[in-house]
Symmetry: D2
Subunit: 359 residues, 4 copies
């Protein structure tokens, strides 16, 4: 019977694997059982954030040492979804998802994890229907990997989608603007998830980044040049998995939607009125949040300045704000907080997801 | 009988006085009654933040037009305390404090405001006992101006303290490091307030920035090169003032002290569980918050990255995080959120202050 | 007989007019004779750079005091072309261009200055043929103002072009992307200049930002939300103007085109081999440079990192580099160095312009 | 007979070793002969610049693959001196220094390279006389390694000095300010070099960062937390080395000292009037430059804004400016340009070093 386990890693810098090494030595983490990593590194989260590549290289090297499998092979089967930028109260950390095969099987039902990779996505397919379709199919494959049979049993889909690295003159990309290409990739991936889960009925290429009424509240998407394929991690409920881990996902209506965050924690039995008390915090296994600087330039009618700041990227503004609100509820800065929430919630909003050991 | 009135200004940019002009035209703000301004402008909050000077110049020019008093004379008697930096959810805005003389007098007691300016503080006195003493005396003068007779009746002291502009070789300053000089000025002002209010018994020059056990929870200090004297605004309760405005001030133990924020709102009758509902928000007249990037490099044991970021100033990190948490409770981004909380709360902590129309 | 005079102002900060006040008091600058200002302020040069507005407000207030003309009227007739950003070796400063009417007339020929403003340019005309045409006509008007009769006598056209502040739903703008709108405005203005000077035969809207083969080497364009019309300053040679000031303008093939800079100085008789010696520097009246981060991502085959830096805007990178190279030749950091050189030189290149008292 | 060889690497990002792999495959670089690396990566150059660690990890992994020597052992014997920050015209690159043992020996004399590592330097010795002494001794050891017998034969000493990572309460460091500690480490290393070369007679701890009259023009120092010991590379002339590579080192009086740069190139036979022509550029093997934002706040009497910019680190300003000036002479952005030139030249100045194949 498979059992999902989640461990959190601290890091002194993006290349510091001493905590992972210690948890492996202590027998807490079984290297061969690692199936996915979701983490925050302390870069700027933008095009020139190399902390993601540094962490991935360091991680795969250590896992390779312990498993005997080549680092490149590990990277091709273990999604490593990193978001750069630990502004404000956020703390660099990673969640390591392992699946352990533990006897005896039983008639239980629990939180399941599945992963899948699409074929490499060429630059000219990014932000087009080809990518939407590829992600849709990859989500279904990851659901199959987890043994999740019904879309309504999916709690969250985390995708790392590719950004174009170079262009072929024979196959022009949808845009040559690197930031726009990253946003289009997130949009295509989000709507691919939405199709797979039945959260939207149909999608056209024109709708990407344009029709904000189309979204799913169960997708968290990052894009970056460090991946070539769409890498998908699905979390949901399936028969035959060991119980013990709860997941709560709630949409956030806007950046200041503190009640949604408290509700997500309350869904899992926490006393979040308003902050999770210290005595309960040990149950938290991971917290994820997605959000967006509201493109209308205001939040609840008051002007914000995130979008026009030449010195400070809008996503750094967003993460510092959203991350702090979530951390204030969780009582802990280890929040996977990421911007770029296109089609992952209402315009200007986002989502909150809590993973916890059942109380 | 004096009555305190607080109006909030929106601004499209730091030189935009159209909202003030409109509120004057509409008879809401009486230019001659303006006694103090506390506001946030959208600069970087650092040494080269000129949005504060631009706002002040624009404001004093408009008030001069309406009062016939020279702009320089207005600037010499009306404290204009600005904090640059509206990171994340924060919204540029200003609070205009007016005192109206309204009949009939009565035996009432209400929220009082007093102001005072110290003599110009030369560069070599900044961050030294001379400044501590000057601020102590100026706070007492501002209390007298407000008619506040007992230190325990003071709710909050807002100070704009000078930073050195230039040095005389005959009178060496305590430091030639501009950032350190600004911090020393805040420290001296905070401990001057603490002495005046009896929150600490004695102060020595060596204690500035060193002895974090010395602090008051009733001071909010900014420093900047745009002022030459210590400018003090005192808010507290006094006989003979019209009732109608409540104030709540609470210390924050650390950056994530969300309960303290909710409690401050609850003190004034708001249903902050966890956010102030839309129907109650019209009562809010102003919210102030001070905080600090924890100098130990961790918050509740988790590493933060605010202090070692070469690209993004630690105070910008701090304001984006603290401001968002407070805004999420208030339901509104118009928070006067300011970093540099030396001796204004426990190490790594700060304070929250809410001003509201009584319900 | 008109005589052009150029004075340079130092400033301690963007609102500091003490040097202008001193030069007026000393009789060096005649307030009523001021016709144009071109300067560098120390902001970030981007959308949220308010140092330009602060300087302009401070300058017009001082000129108003001395001329008795309302500040708004002065701003409507005196072009004040500011570029934010004094990275690296650059020094904040402004050039004040005055035209003095001095007897006796004679048959001389000298450097002439003319100015003209287009009608206000609505948001939906920015970056379209309407703006190209408006700038073309305004350049011709400014040439007429200067008495310059032949396009080949024009040495340099400096334009401050508007950026959209708000949009009407009835008249959609060409783009809602603020940075792109600023670039389109610069492109339209540059090609309007090119048409007026005969440097390109025809222009279509599609060519803006697309056809890099279309350019003039005699235009220097800035755009910003602080102006509503296209403000044009023309410098060139005309009969009836007093001699005494020389101008040299040279194209720069790329960012590292140091020989072009030395040649421009040599054109005016300087010994720039490679730097202007101290004994000759007093003759320099002003230096202007325009350039661009090469959009191909390389300079002479080596990769540069200006275009993909999330922490540091590409134009700040560019100004720091170009400004330093020019300053190293001039021996002085007072260079009007500005990015955004679309259609103002070859792709990745720019121009250098030197103004000097004749030796 | 040893022969020094220098190869330059391009990189698409800090973890990209494809150029090194290609040069190894092509037989150009012999992995076992690599003795030192000096390079620029595209980070911010500050405390949180992890591009240096990422490059080093990637490089040592590749060399380990080719030499069979453990990566940690390679890192302990091959100095890898990286400077982060490729602002403006600068291009990410690295210089690989190899020493090949080639017959036949002869009576020749040529450019020699020697390396040495001090013992690990504990945090409390950084910026103190213990570090000065350690660097002095390590320079002498590196000279011995190169076979350089006289101080006057040393052309340049490149040092990578440690910055404190953590502190022991039993051994307090000289400062807990991380930036200051890095500067003190550079200062101690520079004066250690100066003592070894006889460029200053004596040094006291109080002189570090204080007595700017003490300096050597033959040291280039970086400091960072990625090293634990003082790593020294010495370049100079010694008997028994193959001829063929020339080195020129010149002091720069200030940031705008363009003539010094041209002179250094001219020293090696280049026609740098002012730029090295394309036909000669193939001879350039490496260019190094050190400089400082002038702490007086002015350059040749004009105010600069590098030191008070809250948004942009002073060293990023400096590198963008200095790097561009040097690149404009070299005609190539591959310049090892680094700030932090304490005691490595006169106040506000620095040095320029050119390595070239003899013509």
């Amino acid at each position: 019977m498979p059992r999902l386990a989640i461990h959190r890693l601290a890091m002194a810098h993006p290349g510091d694997m001493s905590d992972l090494a210690a948890q492996i030595s202590a027998g807490k983490i079984e290297p061969k059982a690692v199936r996915a990593i979701i983490g925050k590194t302390e870069g700027n989260g933008g095009l020139n954030d190399f902390t993601r590549g540094y962490f991935t290289q360091s991680l795969m090297a250590l896992l390779s040492l312990h498993t005997g499998e080549a680092a490149a092979a590990l990277a091709a089967r273990i999604p490593c979804v990193l978001s750069g930028g630990t502004e404000g109260a956020l703390s660099p950390h990673a969640m390591v998802f392992s699946v352990l095969d533990e006897a005896p099987p039983s008639g239980s039902r629990g939180l399941a994890l599945g992963t899948a990779f699409s074929a490499p996505c060429p630059a000219h397919e990014i932000g087009r229907m080809a990518q939407v379709e590829a992600v849709r199919a990859t989500v279904l494959a990851a659901m199959g990997d987890a043994g999740i049979t019904r879309p309504e049993d999916v709690a969250l889909v985390q995708v790392k989608a590719p950004a174009p690295q170079s262009f072929s003159p024979d196959h022009p990309p949808r845009t040559t603007d690197a930031k726009l290409a990253m946003a289009l990739s997130r949009a295509a991936a989000a709507l691919g998830v939405a199709l797979a889960l039945g959260d939207v009925p149909t999608v056209t290429e024109e709708a990407l980044l344009a029709d904000t009424s189309l979204y799913t509240n169960r997708a968290s998407i990052s894009s970056g040049i460090e991946v070539l394929a769409n890498e998908v991690v699905v979390l949901g409920h399936a028969d035959g998995w060991a119980p013990g881990i709860g997941i709560a996902v709630r949409p956030m209506a806007d950046l200041l939607d503190l009640p949604a965050i408290c509700t997500a924690f309350a869904d899992l039995g926490f006393t979040a009125t308003p902050s999770v008390p210290e005595a309960e915090r040990h149950r938290i296994l991971g917290v994820l949040a997605k959000g967006e600087p509201d493109k209308r330039g205001t939040i609840r009618g008051q002007r914000h300045t995130m979008l026009g700041d030449t010195d400070l990227d809008a996503q750094r503004h967003l993460r510092g704000a959203l991350g702090a609100i979530v951390a204030a509820v969780a009582g802990d800065g280890r929040i996977f907080c990421s911007g770029g929430a296109e089609h992952q919630g209402p315009a200007g909003g986002g989502l909150i997801c809590v993973l916890a050991r059942e109380g």
